[in-house]
């Protein structure tokens, strides 16, 4: 594989990412899926990079899940999004940073629609005015949270306590990167590196010492797909997608998977359990599965944050093999202690997947 070929494509897809004064909008599902990811992002931006990042207590879902699940019409979605912009305008910010890839895709879709159809924008302004009395400005810059971490990957590397390196062998960890479909498949120019060879996660992994694996089904969807997963009868389709990816990445023996979307890490993590229970197959070494992380969690690990502080105890596939490989110190005894020191309880052991 010719890396220079990829670099040439990456050059074609550079996007502008604001460097400070962010208005952060959380995902509606990520706090349940991976509770430490978003707080880790805020901690990195505030404490490590000393950025001005603000969250409004009144912001809501972008309706992306409802929109992609066919229950929220586009006009409603646009008006809800207009309200987020109004909150941002009121708070005096211009740079929007959504945590969720689907939100990011939907914000991009809405802005693109308004750009091409100003009459739709006028209508939405009217709707919002009638419903809430609010006015809004269009954001100056929209960057996904992974874009922001990508932008500051070198700064993070400079502060790094650990690297994506197997300390026992000295070799880079082999990392599978998985990009959420809505990050750039709809608007390739809006993603760092475009749609076919997105660079946003690769940039982080390489900067932090790891080595990225390019496997044949890299571009395939994780299978979440909203309607696929939300309807139980369709879940076979959803898990089939993840299964296809695992089968395809298996020969490369990846050490870990890094993702930038709410759904992908959830499904790539949990489906490993379901697959193992259904057909007895696991993908990592020693029956432990391939650990799956969000980019914020990986950044947190690199910066030396306590793994239990960034929420790694709620992962299905155990994170310990990676912690050990990276030489990260952790206290097994505190794994299931909550932030308040109270015992959270230990999850039931799967019958196949080892921890």
């Amino acid at each position: 594989m010719e890396l220079t070929g990829k670099q040439n494509i990456w050059k074609d897809y550079q996007k502008e990412i604001a460097d400070d004064k962010y208005f952060y909008v959380r995902s509606c599902v990520r706090q349940n899926f991976f509770p430490g990811a978003e707080t880790t992002f805020l901690r990195i931006l505030k404490d490590e990079l000393h950025k001005d990042i603000y969250e409004h207590p009144c912001h809501t879902t972008c309706t992306g899940i409802g929109y992609h699940g066919d229950v929220v019409p586009f006009d409603t979605a646009m008006t809800v999004i207009a309200r987020q912009f109004a909150l941002m305008t009121e708070a005096g910010y211009e740079n929007l940073v959504p945590s969720c890839v689907t939100s990011f895709g939907l914000y991009s879709e809405v802005l693109e629609t308004w750009h091409h159809f100003p009459e739709v924008l006028a209508r939405v302004r009217e709707h919002l005015r009638k419903a809430t009395g609010r006015e809004f400005n269009i954001p100056k810059n929209v960057a996904h949270a992974s874009d922001v971490i990508f932008k500051f990957r070198n700064e993070i590397a400079q502060k790094a306590k650990y690297k994506l390196i197997n300390t026992a062998t000295g070799k880079p960890l082999k990392v599978v990167e998985h990009i959420g479909c809505h990050y750039s498949k709809m608007f390739p120019a809006k993603g760092v590196g475009g749609a076919e060879f997105p660079y946003v996660l690769i940039g982080m992994v390489e900067e932090w010492g790891g080595e990225v694996i390019d496997y044949p089904e890299r571009r395939h969807c994780c299978g979440f797909g909203f309607r696929q997963y939300l309807v139980q009868a369709n879940r076979g389709y959803s898990i089939g997608c993840s299964h296809k990816k695992f089968e395809s990445m298996e020969p490369y023996e990846p050490d870990m998977i890094i993702t930038n979307c709410p759904g992908c890490p959830m499904f790539l993590d949990k489906w490993q359990y379901a697959i193992s229970e259904m057909n007895g197959k696991t993908y990592g070494k020693n029956g432990q599965g391939i650990p799956v992380f969000t980019f914020e969690e990986v950044a947190g690990l690199v910066l030396g944050y306590d793994p239990w502080d960034i929420g790694l105890q709620v992962h299905q596939v155990s994170c310990e093999p990676i912690l050990d490989k990276m030489g990260i110190k952790y206290d097994p005894a505190t794994k299931y202690l909550g932030k308040n020191g109270k015992y959270l309880g230990v999850p039931e052991k799967p019958s196949v997947l080892k921890d």
């Binding site: 009868a233 879940r235 259904m278 057909n279």
Partner: protein, 110 residues
């Protein structure tokens, strides 16, 4: 094994790497004209069986070529061997013989 109320969905792709194409190689040997098919569908359009059943000769020939064997044995029975397909084929393929030979192959491989 656990029952979650759903299963890992079967892959729908034609797996060209693992499919068995022995029937096609057999037909190529005994009726080389099969290679000339361009899937124009004239045979299917004229086919008597095709007017009343799902039987579709040009598609069956494709399934044979790709090594997709699932329905072939059942489907090929539906042909009435009238020979109209051979009459109309623009590529002059001996479709009737292909059907004969396919049946023979399936029969002898039972």
């Amino acid at each position: 094994m656990a029952d979650f109320g759903y299963k890992i969905q079967e892959d729908r792709q034609i797996n060209y790497d693992s499919n068995d194409r022995t029937l096609f190689y057999f037909l190529k040997r005994v009726e080389p004209s099969i290679s000339l098919c361009i899937g124009c569908g004239t045979c299917s359009a004229t086919c008597t069986a095709g007017q009343f059943t799902q039987f579709d000769l040009h598609k069956i020939m494709l399934y044979v070529r790709r090594g997709e064997k699932v329905h072939i044995a059942n489907e090929i029975k539906k042909c009435m061997l009238c020979g109209k397909c051979s009459l109309v084929c623009p590529k002059g393929i001996n479709t009737r013989n292909i059907i004969f030979q396919t049946r023979k192959f399936i029969h002898s491989n039972k």
